[in-house]
């Protein structure tokens, strides 16, 4: 359990006589962002609820030690009778966090999620995007070790989706994130590892993706590029597209600049 923040072994779940999950086993390391992928009805939300402690497995064990979990539901409740700020203060007060700390965290997250204009708006009157952000903030205010998100982009417009991507990208450095989705875009931009579930069974065990950099560069002499020995390279006239492991990218960029190459673009991408 030292490196692993979460261990799931042989978890099965039966609801109303129907087997929803069958012998799921995986582990998750600290500060990993794990995507649980699967089609509708595959059992991924049930799995997330088991990880959150909402459901108990019919058989098998979920071991998360004393780690605290924050949970963001797919559909934020529609009938909450609180104003936005009031709700966040009240739910944070369940955790025995000092009042001053709650206020400080609240200011930080309200600013981070750009919700200043809505703090005194009743939640019933907030848009879906705003409610989804509130859902994430309430989980973060618990100071969780693991943040669980159930289809966080469902029903959001593309502008709000991009905003949430950006926020989750920031959060992944601070907390372990496990999210369910069937949207490839979200997996592509966020996940360090992918776990596929279909009809309650594991289709693929977590596949860890390496972070790579794609460098677009203009060169004068092709032999220089060959000498640098990059992982993968393709050419288009005087432009080369180099793929390199993130850990080696700074060194390579420096070498390219020292050899009179012009860097046109540097992009991050993940590969299984």
């Amino acid at each position: 359990m030292d490196k692993n923040i979460l261990e799931v072994s042989n978890v099965s779940k039966e609801i109303g006589g129907k087997k929803i999950l069958k012998n799921i086993t995986f582990t998750c390391e600290d500060y990993t962002t794990l995507a649980i992928r699967g089609s509708n009805g595959s059992g991924k939300s049930t799995l997330l609820k088991i990880l959150a402690g909402i459901y108990e497995p019919t058989s098998g064990v979920v071991n998360r030690g004393n780690r605290k979990v924050g949970y963001v539901t797919e559909h934020f409740p529609e009938s909450l009778r609180f104003k936005l700020k009031e709700y966040l203060i009240l739910t944070a007060s369940f955790q025995n966090i000092p009042k001053q700390q709650i206020e400080e965290d609240l200011i930080k997250y309200i600013e981070m999620f750009n919700l200043q204009a809505h703090v005194n708006t009743p939640l019933k009157k907030c848009s879906k995007g705003t409610k989804q952000k509130v859902g994430i903030i309430q989980a973060l205010m618990m100071k969780p070790d693991i943040l669980l998100l159930d289809e966080p982009l469902t029903g959001l417009d593309s502008a709000t989706q991009s905003e949430l991507f950006y926020l989750l990208e920031k959060l992944k450095k601070q907390v372990t994130i496990i999210f369910t989705t069937h949207e490839e875009k979200m997996i592509e931009s966020l996940a360090d590892a992918i776990f596929s579930v279909e009809s309650g069974e594991v289709l693929h065990n977590p596949q860890f993706r390496t972070l790579q950099k794609l460098i677009k560069v203009n060169f004068k002499d092709q032999s220089i590029l060959r000498k640098l020995n990059p992982d993968q390279i393709t050419y288009e006239g005087n432009t080369a597209f180099i793929t390199v492991d993130t850990t080696k990218s700074d060194e390579l960029l420096l070498a390219l600049l020292n050899n009179n190459c012009s860097i046109l673009e540097v992009k991050e991408r993940r590969e299984v």
């Binding site: 539901t73 409740p77 909450l80 609180f82 009031e86 009240l90 739910t91 007060s93 369940f94 989980a139």
Partner: protein, 234 residues
Amino acid sequence: MRGFIHYQSISYIRSLKMIPPATVFGVWIFLLYAYSNVPILSSFAVSSMAVYLVMTWLAMTVFSIEEETEKNMLFVQLNSKTRYLLGKWAICLFFAVLFMALAILYPLGIDSFRGPIRPIHIGLSIYSHLFLAWFGILVGTFFSVTSFSTRKYTWLSALLVVTISLSYEGLVEKIYLLKWILFIFPPVTHTLSYLKEDEIVQLDGTFMQLAIWVMVYSVIGTVIVMRLYLRKER
């Protein structure tokens, strides 16, 4: 836990769901004491039955204020399903205390009773109101959070239990064998048995036996309801 009770009380009060049971209870008490010179203990017995009925109703409304997703979030935020149940019961008890205060202090305030009030009257009234309120909360909880009643028949089932427990004596008088079946229902008439006669009252050994049974039933009932709730929420 204090934070959750605060959250629940705001949510419940804003839902306005307590208005119907509270109104019915208020009207019941005002009508009960519309005339002066009423007997002490039997009036307390009637108001205790009103507390039982109304607390069943109120508990069911307390458990119905959230949708499933809010409940799921609360389970995670509280990190315990038991705390969720205890928080709900705390709200129910708060209203039970308010109803008890009205039922006991109102007739004293307007001097409705025939004869002087003695400490034993007050003691018996607190005992009967308190336990009947708790029985009401248990029945309401049982039919709200366990898998024993489908949503469709929840209210009907709760009403049936309340009616049977109130008419226990009549039923047993007609068919004696029912005594052994009806012991699973809240011992409402056992609790009220010393409030029938207005002329007091020696709290003898029989009273102690009944009181012990009432307490034991409350404890066992609480444990069973809690376990059934946790089993349903697995």
